[in-house]
Symmetry: C2
Subunit: 286 residues, 2 copies
C-alpha cells in the first residue's frame, strides 16, 4: 500500500527517488491510488502493474497511438493535450498523482490526446486488457471503473461550465484555487505551491490569451490576494479567489457584485471616476 506521506513541494523528487525500487504495484495499491474502494473480491488477485519512469519533457503517449495501456500517475506532474483541426495545441488537463490518463481512448481504441511530463514522473502502466479482465472478475471493480469514467465526465463538464460562464479573472482565480486544492489532496500546502506549467499552458488551458493571464496574476498580486514569483505562488486570500467564482462573468453581474468589487476597483487603481458608469469597473487590468 502507498502510505500517504505529506511532504513539501520541494521534496517531491527526492521522495520520488526513494520509490525507484517499487517497480510493480498490486491491484489494491492501484485502487488506493485511484481513490476507489478496494474490491474485496480481488484481494488474492496476482495481477501486478509495472511502473515506468519519465523525465521532464518526455512524452508519455502520443495522439493516435493504439490503446494498449492506460497510465496512472504515481508521482510527478504532467500536461495532457490534444491537437485540433488546425494543429493548434489544446491543453486538456494537468494530471498528477492519482489521475488516470487515457480513459478517452477506450471509445476508438486509440489515444485521443498526448501527454507530456512536466516534471520527472513515475507512471503505472495499466493494460486495458487487464482492466477488462478485472472488470469481469469483480463487479466491485467494474463499478469502480465506471465511477472513474463518470467522475471524469463530471470533471470535464465542470471545466465546460468554467469556460462558458466565467470571466477571465474568475477563470484564473478558480484555476489557482483549484490547483491549491489538488495539491492539498496530495498532502502539499494548498496555499504555497509551484505551478509546474508555463503561462502559455495556463492560458491555453483556460482559453484566454497569455497576456491576460499575466495581467490578472499581476492584478491579484497588486491586490495582495496572492504572491507571484515566477511559477511560485502563494495564496494569501483564498476566499477572494472563491468569491470570484460566484461573480462569474459579465453575464450575470448582480447587485451583490457592486458591494464587494467596487472596493477592489479602488484598491487597484486610483479610481478616476468615469461619468455615467453602470457599475464600478471591478478589476481594471490597466
Amino acid at each position: 500500500m502507498l502510505p500517504a506521506i505529506a511532504h513539501s513541494t520541494r521534496h517531491a523528487f527526492q521522495h520520488n527517488e526513494l520509490r525507484s525500487k517499487e517497480l510493480w504495484s498490486s491491484v489494491q495499491e492501484v485502487c488506493d491510488l485511484l481513490r476507489i474502494n478496494r474490491p474485496l473480491d480481488l484481494y488474492e488477485d496476482s495481477s501486478r502493474f509495472q511502473h515506468v519512469r519519465f523525465k521532464a519533457g518526455q512524452t508519455v503517449n502520443l495522439n493516435n497511438d493504439p490503446l494498449e495501456n492506460l497510465f496512472l500517475v504515481n508521482c510527478g506532474f504532467l500536461k495532457s493535450s490534444m491537437t485540433d483541426d488546425l494543429d493548434k495545441e489544446l491543453v486538456l488537463s494537468f494530471p498528477m498523482k492519482g489521475d488516470l490518463i487515457g480513459v478517452d481512448s477506450i471509445h476508438l481504441q486509440h489515444h485521443q490526446s498526448q501527454t507530456m511530463a512536466l516534471s520527472d514522473c513515475d507512471i503505472i502502466l495499466v493494460p486495458y486488457s487487464t482492466l477488462q479482465e478485472l472488470c469481469k472478475k469483480s463487479e466491485q471493480f467494474g463499478h469502480a471503473i465506471l465511477q472513474i469514467m463518470s467522475r471524469e465526465i463530471v470533471r470535464e463538464r465542470y471545466m465546460l461550465g468554467v469556460q462558458r460562464s466565467l470571466s477571465a479573472e474568475a477563470k484564473v482565480g478558480r484555476f489557482l484555487y483549484m490547483m491549491g486544492e489538488r495539491y492539498a489532496q496530495l498532502g502539499y500546502s494548498s496555499r504555497r505551491f509551484n505551478l509546474r506549467m508555463s503561462r502559455n499552458e495556463i492560458a491555453n488551458y483556460l482559453g484566454v490569451a497569455i497576456e491576460t493571464v499575466s495581467r490578472i496574476l499581476s492584478v491579484f498580486h497588486r491586490l495582495g490576494v496572492i504572491t507571484v514569483n515566477q511559477r511560485e505562488i502563494v495564496i494569501i486570500d483564498p476566499a477572494f479567489l472563491t468569491d470570484l467564482l460566484k461573480f462569474s462573468s459579465t453575464k450575470d453581474r448582480s447587485a451583490e457584485r457592486c458591494t464587494q468589487k467596487s472596493q477592489l476597483g479602488t484598491v487597484n487603481k486610483f479610481a478616476k471616476p468615469k461619468q455615467q458608469q453602470r457599475q464600478q469597473p471591478e478589476l481594471a487590468l490597466s
Copy 2:
C-alpha cells in the same frame, strides 16, 4: 429491432404515436439504439427494458435524484442541464434518439443534471443494477459501456474545444452544422430541420448572449447561407458553416482568412472602407 425509418421532421410525433404499443425492449434492441455492437453472448438474455412516455415540458430526471435508472432516448428531443453555484441554468446537451442520459451520475450515485423533454418523448429505462449485471455477464457488453462513457468524454471534450477557441460566429455555425449531422444520423434531413430549443437555450448551450445568437443567425440568413424562420432552419451552404469551423476565433486569424472572408464582408454590408484595418471585418454584425 428498431427499423431505421427515414421520415420528415413533421411526422416525428405521428411516428412516435405508432410506437406507443412497444412497452418493453430487449438487450439487443437497446444495443442497437446505443450504436454499439450486439453482445453475442447475450443473445438469449431475457432482460427487458421498460419504455416510458414524457410529454413536452415534463421533467425526466431531477438533479440529485438517487441513481436508479439511466435513460435511453428512443424518440423525441430533450434538454439536459445542470444548475451552477448561482442557480443559473447551464445547458449541457440536447439528447435525442440513441443518447444515454445519466452516465454522469454513476460517480456519486446521484444525478448530476436534470433533463427536460422539449417534445413528446419515448424513453427507455435502464436500471443501473441491470447494467451492472449485464457487464458482469458479458465482457463485450462491459466493453461497450466503457466505450459509451469514453465517447461521452470525447464529446464533452470537443465542446470544451469549441468553447475555448471559437468565435461566437463559429460556435453558432458549428452548432447548426452539427444539429444537421445529428438529424441526418436519425434519418432526417441534415439541411432542413426544426430546432427544438429556444434561442435562450442555444445561447446558454454555446456560452454566448442570446442577442448574439439572434444576430448571427440573421447575418447568416442575410448572407444566404441559411434560412431562418423562427426555429425552422434551412442550411443552404453547409460548407460555409464548416469553413467557419476552421477560422476559429480571433486567436489565430491567419492569412487564409483574408481570402475567403473578405468577400463575405462585402456581401454582408456595403463595405464602407475603414482606413487602416488589419484585416477585413469578416461578418460585421451590425
